[in-house]
Amino acid sequence: MLTKKQLFSRGMLDISPHMLSVIPFGIICGAIGVELGFDPYLVYAMSFIIFGGASQIVFLQLLSGGASSLVAVASVGIINSRHLLYGAVLSEYLEKLSFIKKLLISYVVVDQGFAESNKFFKKNRNEEFLHYHLIGTGCTMWICWQIATLSGIVLGSFVPEELGLKFAIPLTFIAIVVQDLKKLDHVIVMITCGLSSLLFFDAPFKSYIIISPIIALFVAALLLRLKK
């Protein structure tokens, strides 16, 4: 049995390689906000209040492009609706926690933290304090995100755009799913999701980000039925 502290450290360790892409991306997010002409305090407030990578950029871009606040808020909600799926997966491992702990832990659930903690949970189902791993991944992500976006706000236009650092984001997610390419059923699900996301990219409110996972999960359900 691992102690709480060991699990927390393990979570920090498991997510830390992703900081190679998260920190540059956070810097870009902060810099874009300032470049679009928003109050630096507001740009930072988003990292604290929304704490959701790409959705923060989309929010500011929509507002600066003249969209109404309602459209911007709705888009953030739809982009982040993928967390519902993460929550459904994680709920199995967190069900023993008190309601208050569930409410608190929810704030730090992010893509990479979900991915790495879920991998760890699957291999260590019987650990008593599993949620400390999720707190470890979430807190590491939170601290790095705050520092990175703040740095971007301060650096502003000094961030070299020609480096194309946004490209680090697809790469970090490739690193997460690449081992599942060994399984044919997962490959089919991934290709379904990827192609759907391109097909529906122009759907309103950036809804491709939740439409394509739903289509891919339907395909997964069909595959499960075929397997039997």
Partner: protein
Amino acid sequence: MTLTAIIFAGILTYFTRMTMIALISRDMLGDKIKAVLEYVPSAVFPAIIFPGIFINDFGTFIEMNDPKIFGALVAVIVGYFSKNIIATISAGLVSYWFLIFVVFS
């Protein structure tokens, strides 16, 4: 004005994170649903990966000879064999930079 919108966006985002964790109990999800949920990472992350590679900042498709496609392929190959996150990201970025700064410059 903008701050109000940020707060609403934040509350909405928090609800997407909290709803399934705090309000759903294990018994509400059947075995079939749980089996499908096993596929969540494979069903969600390509929706971040594919547009990040194939669609540019202006929302249009890239050319088939775009350096990003090469960078992503290198990342997939290095990631598959190395099983190392840092190696995967670095390989993708370095090969991408090699093409844009050395080959195409």
